[in-house]
């Protein structure tokens, strides 16, 4: 029989009618929508038990206390550790994304020699050869760690030299070393007892020092108060974040900080607003006014305001002798609420900015900010976890990223309170990475590893019986019956806290330092990594929070 078009139509009508009363259309409708809710290409978080570990951030020398949320052995989130005596539960904005850094596309995964991929063996051989041929200079950015002492002892063994790249906050303290003999690295600000803080462009509310240290203090004693216990006077050209929130903001041209400091000092001395502690600046008030573009009256008012609520301390954004001299005049050097020194005496470091000795090889630790470029023609071995591109290094050596190696955290710069913490390796590093210290130890087995040094430091603590360990609760060191216990506590994230800063050291200033009007470029925080956490890069791009110019390394 012949099937006509009509038959087909009737048949399909029947089929359609039938299909309606089967699960087909309805189940398909349901399943496709469910499929659209769980597209297989949507990335899924890891499954597994969640545990929160206490540790400290090792990405810059500020070593903020951190709570790290771990799932199935991977860090999946970070938060500030409230019990940390310095950072007090705060982190820098970048800190909240550090757990993603290890996965950054620019993560270094291979040894690189020049432009081509090489191996650790070749790097080791090349380095050993260099060591035999001449002195080796070691540069690092995070002194005082166990790893640092490995680097330092090595450089000494190689009769080379050990150099340190210091953050702007620390450099601002360098001037006092010459006048008081106290090494820069053991000087700090006693902000807790200060009543007036005069910031010469220092980004106090924007990552200066340990983020929590000052911001918490400011929030408690100053923020939004018309007559605060803590006055923050910001002297800066532009309306920075700090200036925007300061109790008083005075705009001065860039580079006129020294002149302003001199001017203020002169008024203080002339008007006997302070007991004279230092020499009269050579600069006259009129000259100071001319330099700063402020009227002499404004300068006088400023000086009076500063003197009206003491202790007052001036903070420079970078190395600035004039501002340091102003502190001497204010009598705030070696005084409560001013510049004090830490109880533990650390040695003097040679800054890497100083002229480098002629060396055969240069070992740059991962803690050195990427943008630091040594002026040398030696063979450079650059350790880094991330590749910032266009490196001056002959060898680029992949080192552990965030929480991938055990590190210890010495007292943080700018904070008077002595601390010591350990950040254990919480997550496993890619097998091909090695830190500078590990590298050196692998070259020479006689070297004591960082881990061993950390343990011996615990023993020191145990013997000294000073201070207390801050875990869930505070336990005095004296209460511990073995160094082992201290070690355990520390590697569980407890923080050792020593005594407060010590005032009362002599600081003699013969004559007013020569004013150099060409100073001050603000680098708010040392961020050694050449990359930002991807989320930071994203948020800076997707919001007007920071101008592109403020975006570093992103």
């Amino acid at each position: 029989m012949k099937i006509s078009r009509r038959d087909l139509l009737v048949w399909s009508a029947g089929a359609a009618a039938g299909l309606i009363v089967t699960p087909v259309p309805w189940k398909l409708l349901d399943d496709t929508s469910i499929w659209s809710q769980n597209w297989p290409w949507i990335p899924q978080p890891v499954r597994g038990p969640i545990e929160v570990k206490q540790t400290s951030c090792t990405l810059c020398p500020k070593g903020c206390g951190m709570k790290v949320k771990m799932a199935a052995g991977w860090p999946v989130g970070v938060a500030g550790l409230g019990s940390h005596p310095i950072s007090r539960g705060a982190l820098c904005p970048l800190g909240f994304g550090v757990h993603q850094l290890n996965w950054h596309p620019q993560r270094l995964r291979f040894v690189r020699h020049g432009s081509q991929i090489s191996s650790w063996n070749d790097a080791g051989a090349a380095f050993a050869k260099a060591c035999n041929e001449g002195p080796v200079v070691v540069i690092e950015g995070y002194p005082g760690r166990a790893a640092s002492s490995v680097l330092e002892t090595f450089s000494q063994k190689q009769n080379g030299s050990y150099r340190v790249v210091l953050g702007s906050e620390t450099r601002a303290l360098e001037a006092y070393e010459a006048w008081s003999g106290v090494p820069t690295s053991s000087l700090a600000y006693d902000l807790e007892s200060a009543k007036t803080i005069v910031s010469f462009g220092a980004p106090l509310l924007d990552g200066w020092g340990t983020p929590g240290q000052f911001t918490r203090l400011w929030a408690e004693r100053a923020a939004g108060k018309t007559n605060p216990q803590l006055r923050l006077i910001q002297l800066e050209a532009t309306l920075s974040r700090t200036a925007a929130r300061a109790w008083q903001w005075t705009s001065i041209p860039v580079g006129s900080e020294s002149g302003l400091a001199a001017g203020v000092a002169r008024v203080l001395l002339e008007e006997r607003l302070v007991a004279a502690h230092g020499p009269m600046p050579s600069l006259t008030l009129a000259e100071a006014a001319a330099q700063t573009g402020l009227s002499t009256e404004v300068l006088r008012d400023l000086a009076r305001t500063i003197a009206s609520q003491t202790p007052a301390v001036a903070i420079a954004s970078d190395d600035n002798p004039a501002v340091a001299a102003l502190n001497v005049v204010l009598g705030s050097v070696g005084a409560r609420g001013g510049i004090v020194r830490r109880s533990k005496r650390t040695q003097h470091y040679i800054s890497a900015d100083a002229e480098l000795p002629s060396a055969r090889a240069l070992l740059v630790d991962a803690s050195v900010p990427w943008d630091f470029v040594p002026k040398t023609n030696a063979e450079v071995f650059r350790f880094a976890a991330w590749d910032g591109g266009s490196s001056k290094a002959d060898w680029l050596l992949p080192s552990p990223g965030f929480l991938e190696e055990t590190n210890d955290i010495p007292s943080t710069p700018t904070s008077a309170i002595e601390t010591y913490a350990v950040s254990p390796a919480l997550t496993k590093a890619p097998h091909e990475v090695q830190s500078a210290a590990q590298f050196l130890c692998s070259l020479d087995p006689t070297f004591t590893t960082a881990e061993k040094i950390i343990h011996s430091r615990c023993e020191e603590l145990f013997r000294a019986r000073i201070g207390a360990l801050q875990a869930q609760e505070r336990t005095p060191v004296a209460k511990f019956d073995s160094a082992q216990k201290i070690d355990e506590q520390l590697s569980k994230g407890a923080i050792w806290t020593g005594g407060p800063g010590i005032p009362g050291f002599k600081c003699v200033l013969k004559e007013w330092p020569s004013v150099n009007p060409s100073d001050s470029e603000n680098s708010s925080t040392i961020w050694p990594a050449p990359v930002l956490p991807p989320l930071a890069t994203k948020l800076y791009r997707e919001s007007s929070l920071r101008e592109a110019s403020e975006m570093r390394n992103a």
Partner: protein
């Protein structure tokens, strides 16, 4: 009967056949579990009486789910008996320390948040309320997965029409809602979703 009626009926019948018989078979695909496991045997031989001896709720309220290999290793560190499954367990998983990639029948998608703690402790529900008597089963049944949505078949339930299905069958949102309605427990969307 006219030719029209016949052709119509023919179409109708074919559709019904495809819809009710062929379609359900085509929609799901079967996967075998990586290991053989007998709840019954463990209850009898090793004297495990309570579900939560292996499937416990942690103190932070999270559910431990299927126990890790360590748990198994406490007894199965060496082969017990000569069965092939035993050999597979010890040689392929315990010795090398691999976790067993179980296919979880009741696994909800990532956007669902279900707290065993709340249902067991606060609502005091028995495991069997949702998981039926699987805890007494004597073998692992095949794992059926929906080809389109990628869900386990247990979510929809075995009956394709969902009309005549066993009391514990089905773990769709509507099933949760029904149970909540019966016990008049009110939660918002994000009460059960992430």
């Amino acid at each position: 009967m006219s030719r029209t009626t016949l052709t119509f009926g023919f179409g109708l019948a074919m559709a019904l056949l495809v819809g009710w018989v062929a379609f359900p078979r085509a929609l799901y695909t079967q996967k075998q579990q990586p290991l053989e496991f007998r709840h019954k045997t463990h209850a009898e031989k090793s004297g495990v009486a309570e579900c939560n001896e292996c499937h416990a709720v942690r103190e932070d309220g999270a559910f431990a789910g299927i126990p890790s290999m360590e748990k198994c290793a406490t007894c199965h560190s060496e082969r017990i008996g000569e069965s092939k499954a035993e050999a597979v367990l010890v040689d392929n998983f315990i010795k090398p320390g691999h976790e067993t990639p179980w296919l979880v029948y009741a696994r909800q998608p990532a956007n669902v948040w279900f707290s065993h703690a709340i249902h067991l402790k606060r609502a005091a529900l028995a495991c069997t309320e949702c998981h039926s008597t699987y805890g007494e089963s004597d073998q692992v049944r095949a794992y059926e997965v929906n080809r389109i949505s990628g869900y386990s078949r247990d979510i929809w339930g075995h009956s394709i029409s969902r009309l005549r299905r066993a009391p514990h069958e089905g773990m769709k949102m509507s099933d949760c809602e029904d149970c909540h309605a019966r016990r008049n427990v009110e939660v918002g969307c994000l009460g059960c979703h992430e």
